[in-house]
Subunit: 462 residues, 2 copies
């Protein structure tokens, strides 16, 4: 089956590999607003919680057993675990765990989860180089800018083609970030981006398997190694991103070069990063949010879950297309059930990883509420929107209208929300008592002399 396309190449692209390399090497430390710097800390903090939360997932166990064959040196921390492995392996495993629950950050314009590849490479490297917290945050901002700008230039064509864009731009973000952290000059950074361009990671076909979270991990490892090679004088094409046979034209028919260069150094893509409040696909978030708001109303007026006769929700057609499963049998299926999402919102006011526990999903209390949810497609309702009405046994009605769910750019999680999310992820792994100093260390990272206290607090004490 031969299919035909011949896309004319752009033979005169601007030198974006060089432009990005100079930017990464030369942009001043903290050369951005307080808001951007704060968002970088939030991005790092959210990544850290996700990584710790999934520390004992079977994907992490399998990856660590595979790495053990190489007898890795005990150089760097595996989040939430006692094993220490080499920095390349730590970048890989922390990248895997940070994306395992699909609960990490999202650059909405490209659907890139930017922290996984970038922060995972950075923290491992910083642990052996002794880099300052300030340098880590600087490198995080710049690395994420590189990945998301390349993503902006190629999205949506690159993603539509089937690339999992988190891994297929993440190696560039990680290479940029590690180059910056090691103080490489623009020429070396250009080589690091060039080497990394030859190792894109990730296919959408892998969604639903362990290889999906493998993508940010493998991208972190590739980018880190590209920077190490570049430091040692390894060479690559100077136009590896933009040339007719460079990465971007090979992997995307859309290559909007302006997305890379416009407002470079004044607009930072990390500003547009968002954090999931609920551990499931973003399309159910408005419904969960609406039901959590109903729960809060009920609490004020003394209504009990048992008093509810029916919950009617009016949703966009995509919601039922993607998440129309009425009777999910386990946690994984529940992530594709707007009915379960509504039940979690009503009963618990949240939908973290714990609310997708297999036993909870099939418990009587949850099943009972879930069956009261009636979902209807309403063509006047937007994807980001939901209308929910609770009808009580006594005929009383409560209505909630969500235009943008909590966690969207319009209604970002507050720092307190992020702390609650972090705690729900980290407490089962590290214990509640360990959390306060770790939260302080993460949110104050840029003031730390190095990352050693942070990583010490990120693993179980006993």
């Amino acid at each position: 089956m031969a299919r035909n396309t011949q896309v004319p190449a752009d033979h005169n692209p601007p030198p974006v590999t060089r432009t990005l390399a100079e930017f990464v090497a030369n942009h001043p430390s903290r050369g951005w607003s307080d808001a951007v710097d704060h968002e970088a800390h939030r991005t790092f903090f959210n990544w850290l919680g996700c990584g710790i939360g999934a520390a004992h997932h079977e994907a992490a166990d399998a990856a660590l057993r595979a790495l053990a064959v190489m007898q890795p040196a005990p150089q760097a921390t595996v989040l939430g675990r006692k094993e220490r492995i080499d920095i390349s392996g730590a970048a890989l495993v922390n990248g895997i765990t940070s994306h395992t629950f699909d609960f990490d950050d999202t650059h909405l314009k490209t659907i890139i989860h930017p922290a996984g590849p970038v922060a995972s490479a950075l923290l491992a490297l910083a642990e052996v180089t002794g880099a300052s917290g300030r340098a880590v945050i600087d490198s995080l901002v710049l690395g994420i800018d590189v990945a998301c700008r390349v993503g902006n230039a190629m999205y949506p064509d690159h993603y539509d083609r089937g690339w999992h864009i988190t891994g297929s731009t993440g190696m560039l973000g990680a290479a940029a970030a590690c180059s910056r952290l090691m103080g490489l000059n623009a020429d070396q950074t250009q080589m690091a981006l060039g080497i990394a361009a030859s190792t894109p990671v990730g296919l959408r076909e892998q969604f639903g398997t362990m290889t999906k979270p493998f993508h940010p991990g493998a991208a972190a490892r590739s980018g880190l190694f590209a920077a190490l090679l570049a430091r040692e004088g390894f060479t690559a094409s100077k136009r590896a991103l933009e040339a007719p046979r460079g990465f971007m034209q090979v992997a995307s028919t859309k290559c909007d070069w302006n997305e890379i260069t416009d407002e470079l150094g004044s607009r930072f893509e990390i500003s547009f990063n968002t954090y999931k409040p609920f551990a499931c696909g973003i399309v159910i978030h408005p419904a969960i949010d609406a039901c959590a708001q109903l729960r809060a109303e009920f609490a004020k007026s003394g209504v009990k879950a048992d008093d509810v006769e029916r919950i009617e929700i009016a949703v966009h057609s995509l919601v039922l297309e993607l998440t129309g499963k009425k009777e999910p049998k386990d946690g994984l299926e529940a992530k594709f059930s707007v009915y379960h999402g509504c039940a979690a919102g009503l009963l618990f006011g949240q939908a973290g990883e714990g609310e997708f526990d297999d036993a909870l999903v099939t418990s009587d209390a949850v099943v009972n509420i879930r069956r009261k949810v009636v979902a209807t497609v309403d063509p006047t309702i937007d994807e980001a929107e939901v209308r929910a009405v609770a009808i009580m046994k006594d005929g009383m009605r409560k209505e909630v209208h969500v235009e943008h769910a909590i966690g969207s750019l319009q209604r970002p999680l507050t720092d307190a929300d992020l702390e609650r999310k972090f705690s729900s992820l980290a407490a089962p792994v590290l214990g509640q008592a360990a959390l306060a100093p770790l939260i302080a260390a993460a949110l104050g990272l840029s003031a730390a002399a190095d990352v050693h206290q942070l990583v010490r607090l990120s693993v179980p004490a006993h």
Copy 2:
């Protein structure tokens, strides 16, 4: 600059990931002809010489310094060197050196250099598992079959798009070979191929830089790790090659599934592997061959180089387009000079890496002969062909017509030719005295209980 293509996906592809996995896991040991088994030994032997020959190239030095940051365990041999590093690093570095001189093997139908990714992963793994020589050769045949069959299915579109097909099919070959060597079953092998499908390596834009030989090395490492992950239960899509958003449809518009399944288990792609006799682009090979034949004629009739007035060669237009450099300044430029190639053939009867030495390229003897070469494009001459006429000062003429150069499928290198090539590469690194037992070990690999003697002989004794 947005460019438009929407290629309709093939939503009903055959299950080639499964088919290949079953083949790799279940095909009997030595389930092929003596000729195929002998070709596998030749492929391994040629790869070994190339790797040893480039052991001290600056690309290898840089890669080893970058790897040293990870403090690798001394598990496996780096060809031609005393350092021992972990198996993942050894797979990488041996993959790099085997392709550094661009002197390795070529599967002509796809321009894949198949041994680099596959043999580099296998030898490193065999060193720690204690696998038999027989198992290594079996795995080499099967791994190369996987890489080249996937290549056949996607070539030429995949290559035209800009992928360096050696690295972007090599990770599959390495994953298949390592799965076989570890005795993974078909389900596990299917997962290994699936994981590897997410990590293709290589852009043609990198040609002329160290990142070109990095491609087979990185593919070797990716494939090896994919097999290790699969053994530990790591999961991937079962249709990672063929699905609409699987690797092949993402990376190629041509996906000829029959190329994967036709005569599977009876036709082996390693049969079509060739070995370069000269360390330069294949387009000059007929001219070098012709001049080497003239040299042999001269020797018989007592003619000296000084007696030659002029060498006229009639060539295909591509020869002057790609290699028309008249006065190369160094070895790298000389690889793109048909004039230098002819001089090397006439003076030395060969054009190994030594004949592209910088000092030799600009020596009086070489320059003197080079300037006597007159090349003319002849539209009746095929790409594989050359006519060369030597005109002596006394007016005498000698003519040679080469229809297919030495090293082509029509005129394969003999085992003796391969031994000469091997010696020219390995002698400067290991010393002449070390070669005989190593040659015997490589060409007799399938009879060895393990690879330990072979790898011991592949590094300097002192």
